[in-house]
């Protein structure tokens, strides 16, 4: 039901030409479409509790939306706002922060994101390189972030910083800041995948107050880790959708395309590749649906809550490979046209790689699982 509605709307607003328009812009999405999402569909409020004006639905419903957005390659600040910003607020925000920001997000007047990765290519606690120092009642933030989704356009940014000299999971704090806070410099980082924009952000003596701090100073790794894990599930959901769509595009194209006197889809080699693609798409979904149940319980309590780390890594490690393999096979099975800018396959191929890299690739997540299993 929610899926059908989403599909109908996305088929309308996320056509190939709409995607390409959004890709070509620095902002990376069309404001008008985002506003339609916020006002007509109210998707940005999907899992925000009703007390803040949200729909109060669960992660399971959110994941269905994400899967469809991945399928339709929707260019929007949905992921950054909902799966990074909103999750961060829900997991780590103070009552006042939730009240203020979640309400604004529900109203469609605020987009948000999370900045935690420096330039060392890591995705764990060591990714946090920016620092915080105390200056009387104030805090001074300094440092540089890269790969921040929609970082140049978001209205609210959750920054992860660490106490100077701290390492690993120690000394990490989160701050929720208006993106226009003095000292926050943002620039678009043009990327190979143009369907989701990334930014570099530098903090230069950014002076903030305790009201901006989320939770306790220096103790925020458990919260940040949970936010990252929730976002990981969200990326996996998009990947599962992409894995399905690349399959659908391929089946459709090979049914039409005639070579050597018959539809390409009739060649057993093509059928078997398509079968493997379907396997990957279905398995990806199974992983994501379960992870969604776990994420739901991690947010709202339940016996599966402590499985979040594992379920997120299971889903991301499988879906990263599954989507990339499907997108790669899709290009191959499209033959020459899969290689052209005109056809959409390459958009998925690029998105598959960027989402594989984002929040850690399959090998990274397998090692996390190995630590759970073996250490």
């Amino acid at each position: 039901m929610i899926r059908d509605t989403a599909q109908a709307f996305l088929a309308d607003v996320s056509s190939s030409s709409a995607i390409r328009n959004a890709m070509a812009s620095e902002q990376g999405f069309e404001t008008q479409i985002w506003q339609r999402i916020c006002t007509e569909m109210y998707w940005q409020a999907i899992h925000i509790p009703e007390e803040y004006g949200g729909m109060g639905l669960g992660y399971v419903e959110l994941v269905i939306m994400l899967e469809e957005m991945g399928r339709y390659l929707l260019c929007s600040p949905f992921f950054s706002t909902v799966c990074l910003g909103t999750n961060a607020l829900i997991v780590a925000g103070t009552a006042a922060q939730k009240q203020q920001y979640l309400s604004q997000i529900c109203q469609g007047s605020l987009t948000a994101t999370l900045a935690y990765t420096g330039n060392n290519g890591r995705w764990d606690a060591d990714a946090v390189q920016a620092t915080v120092t105390t200056d009387g009642d104030h805090y001074l933030l300094n440092g540089r972030y890269r790969y921040v989704p929609d970082g140049h356009s978001a209205g609210l940014i959750i920054f992860a910083v660490r106490d100077e000299g701290s390492t690993g999971v120690d000394g990490i704090s989160l701050f929720a800041l208006d993106a226009n806070t003095p000292g926050v410099k943002r620039s678009w980082l043009p990327t190979m995948d143009e369907t989701r924009k990334q930014a570099e952000i530098t903090l230069d003596q950014v002076c903030v107050t305790k009201a901006d701090l989320m939770g306790e100073q220096g103790k925020a790794w458990p919260q940040l880790n949970k936010i990252i894990q929730l976002a990981t599930v969200a990326v996996a959901a998009e990947q599962a959708g992409g894995a399905q769509q690349t399959l659908d595009l391929t089946v459709e194209y090979t049914q039409e395309r005639v070579q050597f006197g018959r539809p390409v889809a009739g060649f057993q080699a093509v059928k078997h590749q398509a079968a493997d693609m379907m396997l990957r798409a279905e398995v990806a979904k199974s992983a994501v649906y379960y992870a969604a149940c776990v994420a739901e319980e991690a947010l709202n309590g339940g016996p599966l809550a402590n499985e979040l780390a594992e379920a997120a890594s299971v889903a991301k490690s499988y879906c990263s490979q599954g989507y990339f393999s499907n997108a790669s096979d899709a290009i191959q099975l499209h033959g020459g046209v899969g290689f052209t800018w005109e056809y959409d396959v390459h958009l998925y191929f690029k998105r598959a790689k960027s989402s594989e890299l984002f929040l850690g690739n399959s090998a990274y997540h397998r090692e996390l699982i190995a630590q759970i299993l073996l250490d």
């Binding site: 399959l247 089946v251 049914q255 009739g266 079968a275 379960y290 299971v314 490690s317 499988y318």
Partner: protein, 398 residues
């Protein structure tokens, strides 16, 4: 997809676990973790006794309706039973063909008389079944069945002649269900019948097939004018294909979760070896163990999807891919086991050719990607039924 276990379910889980703890002891202790695929030939008599022990306390056919002797357990309870059963290391069900295939087929397609005649023996664990599907020249190609059946009016019986192959437990079984061609002029999947036959008769001979493991779990079954009572055809002559197809659906049921728990046990063995020989510190082995774990976890989630949601009867996509997925996983696990053991992987338990459990698993899994439809045939099925791609063309040989 959410499978939630209610407090009642959890109580049921405790009951199952307790029963197993109390009963999988004494003479049954030796059966722990035995008799699964690749090990089916082991301890058949003791496992039959175990089956009857289960039956005594109502732990066979728990998913069957109560009217046929089952417990009428919910899907969730069946999942729980299978999980606990495998977790406890309880032995491979010697009655699984009867419970999982023959019985459900009879419940769905059998006459009342057939139900009365056969179901109680299955439930009681006293009568074992095997299946007569594959044939030497036909492989997984049911349409190529050459075993013939004709009705002998004088005797009032069906007379069956032909050969089946890859039949597990044929030596131990009391009955076999057989697909045979009732119309000699029919081709492909038309004109087949589905027969229930007594194994102990002059017209049936069983020969073990020596496998690459050096053991014989699979058999050839030869039918030479073997007899089948007139009442023991399921459905009508010509309906064999439809019944066989229905039966294929039963193969993908809740038992998959029990199978997965066995896989889990095997993976745990591999992990234990890695920890013992230090290969758990090898980054490449770590990746592979993690990958095996990831895919096994998802196998479970996939089964939960198969079992939940709309039970619209049609084979869902996640069910279509299941055989290809698990057989590939299991094959990979075999290779991982060897590589974790390193050179020690080669050393047998003893001469002349007694394999260790993991060696037997490693070799036996090679059948997983072949029997019940090879991976290649699975891919055809997925593409054709799951994706609507063109069927394989019929080629005329020159």
């Amino acid at each position: 997809m959410k499978i939630s276990f209610s407090p009642e379910d959890e109580k049921f889980r405790a009951e199952v676990a307790q029963w197993l703890t109390q009963n999988l002891v004494g003479e049954f202790e030796q059966l722990k973790f035995r008799g699964g695929p690749g090990d089916e030939h082991m301890f058949p008599q003791a496992r039959k006794k175990w089956e009857q022990k289960l039956a005594q306390d109502g732990w066979t056919c728990i998913g069957w309706p109560k009217e046929y002797g089952g417990r009428g357990c919910s899907i969730e309870q069946q999942v729980i039973f299978n999980e606990e059963y495998a977790r406890a290391g309880a032995p491979g069900h010697v009655g699984h063909i009867g419970e999982g295939l023959a019985g459900p087929t009879l419940i769905a397609f059998g006459s009342e008389a057939q139900k009365q005649k056969y179901l109680p023996g299955i439930v009681a664990g006293t009568e074992l079944w095997c299946q007569g599907y594959s044939e030497p020249g036909a492989g997984s190609d049911l349409a190529n069945v050459k075993t013939k059946a004709y009705f002998d009016e004088a005797k009032g019986k069906w007379i069956i002649s032909g050969q089946k192959v890859w039949t597990s437990l044929a030596h131990e079984s009391d009955y076999i269900f057989v697909i045979a061609r009732t119309n000699p002029d029919s081709i492909a999947h038309k004109g087949l019948g589905f027969f229930l036959m007594k194994m102990d008769q002059p017209g049936i001979e069983v020969r073990g097939i020596k496998q690459l493991t050096g053991t014989s779990e699979f058999n050839e079954v030869f039918f030479d004018q073997a007899e089948c009572d007139a009442d023991d055809i399921v459905g009508k002559p010509g309906e064999g294909w439809a019944i066989a197809m229905g039966l294929l659906g039963f193969e993908r049921g809740v038992s998959t979760l029990g199978q997965q728990m066995q896989f889990h046990n095997e993976l745990n063995q591999v992990i234990a070896i890695a920890k013992a020989n230090g290969n758990d510190k090898d980054p490449i082995i770590r990746q592979r163990i993690a990958e095996a774990h990831v895919r096994l976890k998802i196998m479970r989630y996939n089964s939960m999807r198969m079992l939940s949601d709309e039970g619209d009867g049609g084979l869902k996509k996640e069910a279509l891919i299941y055989k290809l997925y698990w057989s590939t996983w299991h094959r990979d696990l075999g290779e991982l086991a060897m590589d974790v053991m390193g050179p020690e992987a080669e050393i047998l338990a003893s001469a002349p050719y007694n394999l260790t459990r993991l060696q037997a698993m490693y070799l036996f899994v090679r059948s997983d990607t072949i029997y019940g439809g090879t991976n290649e045939i699975q891919r055809n099925i997925i593409a054709e039924r799951g994706l609507g791609m063109p069927k394989e063309p019929k080629i005329q040989m020159n």
